[in-house]
Amino acid sequence: MLNFLARRIAQIIPTLFFVSVLIFSLQQLLPGDPALVMAGEERDPAVIEQIRQQYKLDQPIPVQYVYWLKGVLTGNFGESLRSKMPVRELIAQKLPVTLQLGSMAILIAFLIGIPAGIVSAVKRGTVWDYGANLFALWGISTPNFWLGILMIFLFSIELGWLPASGYVPLSENWRASLAATIMPAFVLGNAISAILMRHTRSAMLQVLESDYVRTARAKGLSERSVILKHAMRNALTPIITLGALELGTLLSGAVLTEQIFSIPGFGKLIVDAVFNRDYAVVQGVVLVTATVYITLNLVADVAYILVNPRLRG
């Protein structure tokens, strides 16, 4: 186990290095003088000079990279050109909002996707199976920003049940917070529940044909016990770790969902930064996202080994 962990961490280091090169290289894509582009409408030479200093733009590119990396390694992602706040603080402020939304979305995705997948596999070839498959197709084919708009129209404008936009922190008023986030969380979880349903279905189908399930049936156990105690436990092991790997879908989805529902989270931060030409914030957000993704992948791998004794070396 320790050997595996050491090997996995050793693999992560070059990946993180290339992630940093990739994100640093983004600023090389800016057309013309990067300092002028970053300054936008601002033509004050002092501001342009400050940008040049901040990004070490008067130095050769490898030197710029080393300075940038030094900052990143010490947790200094630079300063927002617009709000003048350190990027690290901005991210720390917005991340909990997206974490709340993301956790609710994952919970909704598991609550819908896994039962739907199990029913679909157990009732293979029936109307339940077709229904669950149609649901999965709907989930992966519907753009979440469209679903969000339709839900706002139905639940906020027509029925008036839920607020159309805004965010209330959980600590302030949990009821208002849930009311404000339940619709965006559903929109965000919809596609993931479809993916989970498909994976659960195929894992269950595989397990239901295995010898130990046949043995359990031969022992005379009830069908309920065979499915819930024997089949499901084994089929769900890889599915739980899949949840971590869907983080990418979740964060990509959060960008649009937060935009539609005006939720001041991580996704809205990157979009606002893009329009404010606040490139340090864009780089910071992408870097944190990638690092979290890589770390969660590692956690998922370790968790998979921990719950699967056959893989423990």
Partner: protein, 295 residues
């Protein structure tokens, strides 16, 4: 005994007539969902190509007397906030979406397949280097990377296509590499090597045709993802720029007038949904038809 004297069994005849491509086509056409996907996507392509001939109105012509009119016999899908005909804009919008889907996946294939072939065939340091760069790109969520790239490149449909194409590249590198590793030790590759073929010729002439089915399936599914990504970038204002019609930017405008003109939100979203659904159905059908083991 000459060859002509050999009796030709019906089995051999059938085998010769039934090429793998024909078998795959027959399997594809047996699946109703895949056929639906194929017909729907062909219809959308025809609409996009024939847009100038079939649209009832100019998609960018504004009319103050027609601002936000609900669907009528003269404007089937209604009009938008500037009095433009939504049906004409949805038809023209198919051009931006399909073009973005095709071009960005072409970019991803153009970069990803050669790099995947190189990594898989050469192995060693080249493989390790390409694989680590691929891991790094895959660590950045698809849409977030596309948004970051589009932000630095500047907002336009062309840049959105480049951004989506680059973001979709690592999937093709990884897929191609994996497929190459699968077939690398097959007899026909060994034979090509024994005949003295250079590495690039073995990769492109012998390995590539054999891994095409997997690439084709992934390309179909990636076009669907690219169309959603283009709509998302246009929705955020980073793709097709107004007044040119695109489904994503139409949805952005629709959200602002949801209480007064809800029909503005229905049609562009439905168009994205139908195109993506069709491509997903076609992709699933192709996977089943080309690789029956995965069924």
């Amino acid at each position: 005994m000459t060859d002509a004297a050999l009796p030709v069994s019906p089995v051999t005849q059938a085998y010769e007539l039934d090429s793998p491509a024909r078998r795959a086509r027959r399997r594809l056409f047996k699946r109703k969902a895949a056929v639906f996907g194929l017909v729907a996507i062909t219809t959308f392509i025809a609409l996009a190509l024939l847009a100038p001939l079939i649209v009832p109105y100019d998609p960018i012509a504004t009319s103050w007397s027609l601002v936000r009119k609900p669907p009528t016999m003269s404007h089937w899908f209604g009009t938008d906030e500037l009095g433009r005909d939504i049906l004409s804009r949805v038809i023209y919008g198919a051009r931006a979406s399909l073009l973005a889907g095709l071009i960005s996946v072409a970019i991803a294939l153009g970069i990803g397949v050669p790099l995947g072939l190189l990594a898989g065939y050469r192995g060693g340091f080249t493989d390790a280097l390409i694989s680590r760069i691929t891991d790094a790109m895959l660590a950045c969520p698809f849409l977030i990377l596309a948004i970051a790239l589009a932000a630095f490149l500047g907002p336009s449909l062309t840049n959105a296509m480049i951004a989506i194409g680059i973001s979709a590249t690592p999937i093709f590198i990884r897929l191609t590499r994996g497929q190459v590793l699968n077939v690398k030790s097959e007899d026909y590759v060994e034979a090509a090597r024994a005949l003295g073929n250079p590495g690039w010729r073995i990769a492109f002439s012998h390995i590539l045709p054999n891994i095409m089915p997997a690439l084709l399936v992934q390309a179909t599914l990636s076009i669907a993802a690219a169309i959603i990504a283009e709509a998302a970038l246009s929705f955020l204002g980073l793709g097709q720029q107004p007044p040119a019609p695109s489904w994503g930017s139409m949805l952005n405008a629709a959200q602002r007038f949801l209480t007064q003109a809800p029909w503005m939100a229905i049609w562009p979203g439905l168009a994205i949904f139908l195109v993506v659904l069709s491509l997903n159905l076609l992709g699933d059908g192709l996977r089943d038809a080309l690789d029956p083991r995965q069924r």
